[in-house]
């Protein structure tokens, strides 16, 4: 058809607030550059096969380029190779992909971000105490990296004891909440069994927050979470969450689409673009630079 340039942007899911900001960033870039983007994730959240299907459909459709946040670093390799074979360049964002078919990788360094979280929690606890980790989901690469980075940082502190790190909150807030509730009770968190907790993404952080509040432990147990949402920021203000490690989703979306546009224009791009992560606590919350990351104004881009 040879129409306008059409870039497919494929997130992992579409309903996390994180992805809204990514979407907005992508839209901003597309408007600036003057390309069309199609935003389409798998129907069910975290559906690997569904995401592969979406990629294949875009390849069959013959879009100009694909920007993809792979749900798995290995499984999406083949579909991406297929796209490249069909002369459709691919930029990977948010989570890494194995292989070398893609042109660029735009993301937060999750291992480093996890380490940041670990160091923050250790500092909050004064380098000693008992902590629990509520993991996200089996086989999710980016959160596993964060968990790894976190544990790595914590293990350096000899006086910090990890009381639980094998429980998974699952894909939804409600499953995370129920898990967190039982976990806290099981470790007798109410009577000093747990001094600090860490959660590696938005849904587990929020689930844990609800559980802490319900048990009347919010603010008493040191709590470092990941990602930001209106409620989590509110909790930070209330002192129910001590710190959040925040990525810059808007920037991730923006940079990814930009990189794709450069590639389509035949310009060289860096193979690795780090979009950074910061630790936000009550003190740093109201600084303008944090605000731009934590609560970017999405309305101009998503039109609502």
């Amino acid at each position: 058809d040879g129409g306008a340039t059409k870039i497919a942007v494929i997130p992992k899911g579409t309903t996390h607030e994180f992805w809204k900001a990514v979407h907005a960033g992508a839209v901003k870039a597309s408007r600036e550059i003057g390309v069309e983007i199609v935003w389409k994730g798998p129907l069910a959240e975290d559906d690997l096969k569904g995401q592969i299907d979406v990629v294949q459909s875009f390849v069959a459709q013959g879009v100009s380029g694909i920007v993809l946040a792979p749900l798995n670093d290995k499984a999406l390799e083949k579909p991406v190779e297929g796209a490249v074979k069909a002369n459709i360049p691919v930029v990977i964002f948010d989570s890494d992909l194995a292989g070398s078919a893609h042109k660029s990788f735009v993301a937060t360094d999750n291992l480093a971000a996890g380490r940041l979280a670990g160091e923050k929690l250790a500092a909050l606890l004064g380098q000693k105490g008992k902590i629990a980790v509520l993991r996200y989901q089996e086989g999710s690469a980016s959160t596993q990296k964060r968990e790894e980075g976190f544990l790595e940082a914590i293990r350096k502190m000899p006086e910090i004891k990890i009381v639980s790190d094998n429980q998974y909150g699952g894909a939804t807030t409600e499953s995370a909440f129920e898990k967190a509730e039982s976990l806290l009770a099981a470790q007798s968190a109410g009577s000093g069994g747990v001094d600090g907790v860490f959660c590696p993404n938005e849904s587990t952080t929020f689930g844990m927050l609800l559980a802490l509040r319900k048990a009347g432990l919010a603010g008493k147990i040191k709590f470092v979470g990941f990602d930001a949402s209106e409620k989590l920021v509110g909790a930070l203000r209330d002192g129910h969450v001590d710190a959040l490690v925040v990525q810059d989703p808007f920037k991730i979306g923006y940079e990814a689409v930009r990189a794709m546009a450069e590639i389509l224009a035949g310009k060289p791009v860096a193979p690795r673009i780090d979009t950074g992560a910061v630790v936000v606590d009550k003190a740093s919350l109201d600084k303008p630079e944090t605000k731009a990351i934590v609560a970017p104004d999405l309305a101009p881009w998503l039109g609502k």
């Binding site: 094998n166 039982s182 009770a185 048990a215 609502k304």
Partner: protein, 319 residues
């Protein structure tokens, strides 16, 4: 033995008690604390309330796969109302109305198109999920939860006499009402009759279509109420919430003595079925069992509980 026939919920009750006692022995002491009982009761509320409606639908010989989506939709409606500043009671009413409406749509499709409820509710399961996502603009909806947040929260100090948070009492009340309806009203008997033999019920002048319609409506209403409870737990309206809830609710009903073929089922049994699953989940977490072991254990216990119950009932009826 005779009691089992008259009170089919005794089987699942025994299962709950046995599993509880086992965990009480092997899990750390804190498992048997009163707080944990309250917590488990609270975690059963959503499934328990939805199971009342599902029991009715399954007694009828039907099924409602849309219950999870309906709950999610209801949390979204509730959150939207709260965000718009509506009083808690109004938001809850709106959520329940959305549930009722969805249920009535199910009922209308089942009775007028005469398609099997499985496929109708499979369709509405997708459609309601989509509606929830659309209404919520594909996002979780933050909303003040004041007024509703106490439903399943632990009791504030000084209210210990209530034993359980209000949500648990609401669950018990709904179950009681539904159970009483089944025994003491004409409509209740007609529901069982349709599930047992629809042609017969029709021949005897039961207005089969109307009863079905109402039952699906009621099931929707309960899903809406469950959604209010879910909102009160999550304090956000979440369109991706409760995926897969339908299987858990159906499992609760079947563990409680219900049959997919209709004509059998008990509201009290379904409640114990729901509780059984909560106890297993909580107990496994207390033991710190790996997730994958927990999955295997849950599967095993569910099958065993039902197998024992059925074997007992069979030995009592024979042939």
């Amino acid at each position: 033995m005779k009691y089992l026939r008259k009170y089919p919920f005794l089987g699942p009750l025994v299962a709950v008690v046995v599993v509880y006692v086992i965990f009480a022995i092997v899990a750390p002491g804190s498992f048997t604390r009163a707080e944990n009982l309250t917590t488990m009761a609270g975690q059963t509320v959503v499934v328990g309330i939805a199971a009342s409606g599902m029991t009715l639908v399954m007694l009828l010989g039907g099924i409602d796969l849309s219950v999870g989506s309906n709950v999610a939709l209801s949390t979204v409606v509730c959150a939207l109302c709260m965000r718009a500043g509506a009083p808690a009671i109004l938001a809850a009413a709106a959520a329940m109305a959305s549930g009722l409406l969805s249920g009535l749509v199910n009922g209308a499709l089942v009775t007028t198109l005469r398609i099997t409820p499985f496929i109708v509710t499979l369709g509405t399961m997708r459609a309601l999920r989509g509606l929830a996502k659309g209404l919520a603009d594909e996002q979780k909806i933050d909303a003040p939860s004041s007024g509703l947040d106490a439903l399943v929260a632990p009791l504030p100090p000084g209210y210990g006499w209530a034993l359980f948070p209000p949500g648990v009492w609401i669950m018990l009340a709904t179950s009681g009402l539904v159970a009483a309806m089944l025994v003491y009203t004409k409509g209740g008997r007609h529901i069982v009759a349709i599930g047992s033999n629809e042609a017969t019920a029709r021949l005897c002048g039961v207005r089969v279509e109307r009863v079905k319609w109402l039952v699906y409506g009621l099931a929707g209403l309960f899903a809406g109420l469950a959604g209010v409870m879910e909102f009160s737990t999550l304090t956000v309206g979440d369109p991706t919430d409760s995926v897969g809830l339908e299987l858990e609710v159906i499992a609760a009903v079947v563990i409680g003595g219900g049959s997919l073929a209709g004509g059998e089922g008990s509201v009290a049994g379904a409640l114990f079925g729901a509780l059984l699953m909560t106890v297993i989940r909580t107990g496994s977490t207390y033991l710190g069992i790996d997730n994958w072991v927990q999955d295997i254990v849950t599967g095993g216990i569910v099958v065993t509980a039902v197998a024992l119950d059925r074997a007992r009932r069979a030995s009592e009826t024979r042939r």
